[in-house]
């Protein structure tokens, strides 16, 4: 489904025993982006900015895009195990990666299993840890549009919000959200979007350069979870952005890109 006018392409590739929907764009060394619990929202400003120096690899996690998921994947560790196999098949050796929210949890689980898989790791508003104060917002007690709104400190002041969450979503968009919610449910219904043994296992990331980026006003995963990531991963850096909710990559895109580029170089 390649289009000539877009700065990205989309293809279906056979990896790790299934078909994977993969978006690619940009030029330079590969950079893996693991999308959040509502799936890949389309090519946004932060993608375009990062694509100036990297070839972005944005896979749709199994079950999140147009393709069926894998029945045997019933929790995030199953998914992480499958993903490591998939990255082998994609030839993405030690690769820098950005994990967004649920994708951050996925990246963290993969890194505990195989820290050498990543060259650098950026965790953004990552799920996966039960926050010592506050709680992870329950996405299943809201419809997708409401959940998206809660994810921003100021959605009205975020130009790309209308693109991500239009007043009247197309039927295709609504269906994509439902597909994503269903798969997110399989991965994180209980314990809700975290796994209790993740923090002690994160010590394995001590040789992996890790940047943790959080919005100070994150209403989906409270900032207290960022601090646990930070203390659990020796040597990690923590950047907290002001006037920013759960999506620093969208709500404070320029500042986010600046921090990420500085870290990756």
């Amino acid at each position: 489904m390649t289009t000539s006018t877009e700065p990205w392409t989309e293809e279906i590739v056979e990896v790790a025993g299934t078909r994977l929907q993969l978006v690619k764009g940009g030029s330079g060394a590969p950079l893996l982006i693991l999308h959040d619990e509502l799936g890949h929202p389309g090519w946004l400003h932060f993608h375009e900015a990062l694509a100036q120096q990297h070839t972005l690899y944005i896979p749709f996690h199994p079950g999140f895009g147009r393709l069926e998921g894998l029945d045997w994947i019933t929790n995030m560790r199953d998914m992480a195990g499958w993903y490591l196999d998939a990255l082998d098949d994609l030839g993405l050796g030690p690769v820098p990666a950005i994990g967004l929210s649920l994708g951050g949890w996925l990246a963290a689980e993969m890194a505990t299993m195989c820290p050498g898989q990543f060259k650098q790791l950026v965790l953004v508003g990552a799920m996966g840890i039960r926050p010592p104060s506050g709680q992870i917002y329950d996405m299943f007690l809201e419809v997708a549009k409401q959940y998206l709104t809660v994810g921003y400190f100021n959605s009205a002041n975020t130009p790309e919000f209308q693109k991500i969450c239009p007043d009247t979503p197309t039927p295709e968009q609504a269906e994509a959200w439902e597909m994503a919610r269903e798969e997110a449910c399989r991965l994180g219904w209980r314990p809700y979007m975290h796994y209790p043994s993740l923090p002690p296992l994160l010590r394995r990331l001590r040789k992996l350069p890790t940047l943790i980026v959080w919005g100070r006003q994150d209403a989906i995963v409270p900032l207290s979870a960022a601090e646990v990531y930070h203390t659990s991963i020796p040597g990690s850096q923590l950047v907290v952005l002001d006037n920013c909710g759960h999506h620093p990559e969208i709500e404070q895109a320029d500042e986010f890109v600046r921090h990420v580029q500085a870290f990756l170089s």
């Binding site: 299943f140 007690l141 419809v143």
Partner: protein, 433 residues
């Protein structure tokens, strides 16, 4: 014809200021239980049990219970507790559970034991229905909605095996794991209590019922889509090589009988007041749209014709009725009147849908105990006897007259001793294997 009585046992609290047309609107998950009054709860549980005893006296064949969680419109959060009490304090009527929400429990062996005990204490009067539950049930007990249908099927297979197979045995399924299944209780009825399936929207569930040859009960749906859904059952049965009939299908809807037309209208309007179930067509309350779309709970594509109607009732602006009382009266989803005026309408429903089981949903919403008791008395005196004649004439056998699995006529079982304290017997037919 099998005739059952049902009320959802609403938590009626006029002081609360909540609940439908009589007060502040409610939405699922939006009312805290800090308002719960234990004195009122005690009163209502006992009231609803008293009404069930009276329903049996008035000649109903079945006393139907259902279960919901975390909501004021249905107090049956532990329906099997109510069923256990009925097993002991009633003597003749079937105890019809529609049903246990099997996918939400992580330990179906506990249901194997509970239900077998109810069947024993009632001396074989249990009808054990299953449901998949709505979103609020998955949320209340934190059960994984995306595995609801898989867990439903596996739990059913496990429970039937535990009832019918000598233990010990091991069960290693996808969702349930038991290393030593050997419950020290077995059901009274052989091979096991009849299993029925009520529903509203899921095509998967209805087709499953047809495949398993078990009766499917449609809950408070409009007549035309109900008829279409039942046709799907009959067509599926034919494809599977057996002839289904009225004994395979049941219909629950709102029927109230009263002494005068004025009283009937006053009481009938109370159906759509009070804390009634917003999931079913025409009731008060607002369905939480997130619960309606809990991920994976029901297939988004494999739905029944009745789903459109069920959806119409949900999710409107707070306090706005899905369908007003007058419209429900017009399309017979509510029938309320004197015996003289309700009987022709009931006949129309029976002729149109041709169910072998019917359930009158009464005493609900904001109806009082007196409203419920007047109706029960008149049903016993005038309505039920007339319906039995109608059913004979229209040839609508129930599932205790014709076996839903084989289509063969069942003979009434010999009179068996009932509860020791009653000393009375009855001629309740026995389900044959």
């Amino acid at each position: 014809m099998f005739i059952g009585y049902f009320t959802e046992r609403p938590y009626q609290d006029p002081k609360s200021g909540y609940f439908g047309a009589t007060g502040k609107p409610i939405m699922d998950l939006a009312v805290s239980n800090d308002m719960y009054d234990p004195e009122l709860g005690a009163e209502l549980y006992n009231r609803y049990l008293d009404e069930k005893i009276y329903a049996e006296e008035m000649g109903f064949d079945g006393l139907m219970l259902n279960e919901h969680h975390g909501t004021p419109f249905c107090m049956g959060g532990a329906m099997n507790v109510e069923a256990s009490i009925l097993a002991r304090i009633t003597h003749r009527a079937k105890i019809v559970l529609l049903g246990n929400i099997i996918p939400i429990w992580d330990d179906p062996l506990w249901l194997v034991e509970q239900l077998a005990m109810i069947d024993l204490i009632s001396r074989g009067r249990l009808v054990s229905g299953w449901v998949r539950g709505t979103g609020r049930e998955s949320v209340a007990h934190n059960a994984p909605p995306h595995y609801n249908w898989e867990r439903f099927q596996e739990a059913h297979e496990f429970i039937v095996k535990a009832w019918t197979t000598s233990g010990p045995f091991r069960w290693e399924g996808k969702h349930y794991h038991f290393r030593h299944v050997n419950p020290w209780v077995k059901p009274y009825q052989k091979p096991h209590p009849p299993i029925w399936l009520p529903g509203v929207v899921s095509r998967d569930s209805l087709l499953w019922a047809a495949k398993e040859r078990i009766p499917y009960i449609m809950l408070a749906t409009e007549m035309e889509p109900t008829k279409q859904a039942f046709q799907l059952y009959h067509d599926t049965a034919k494809e599977l090589g057996y002839e289904s009939g009225p004994q395979n299908i049941g219909y629950l809807w709102k029927v109230h009988v009263d002494e005068t037309e004025e009283l009937a209208e006053q009481a009938g309007r109370k159906y759509v007041q009070g804390p009634s179930n917003p999931f079913l067509a025409g009731n008060e309350g607002t369905f939480n749209p997130a619960l309606a779309t809990l991920p994976g709970l029901t297939s988004r594509t494999r739905v029944l014709p009745t789903q459109v109607v069920a959806t119409r009732a949900r999710g409107g602006a707070a306090g706005v009725l899905g369908r007003p009382y007058e419209q429900q009266i017009a399309d017979y989803t509510i029938i309320s009147g004197t015996p003289k005026t309700v009987l022709p309408k009931i006949r129309h429903v029976l002729e149109y849908i041709r169910p072998g089981s019917i359930f009158f949903w009464d005493g609900d919403g904001a109806m009082t105990h007196d409203d419920a008791m007047r109706s029960l008395r008149l049903m016993g005196e005038e309505v039920i006897p007339a319906i039995r004649d109608m059913a004979q004439e229209l040839e609508l056998p129930g599932p205790f007259e014709v076996d839903p699995a084989t289509g063969t006529r069942l003979e009434a079982a010999p009179v068996t001793a009932q509860n020791a304290d009653s000393g009375s017997g009855n001629g309740a037919p026995e389900i044959k294997a």
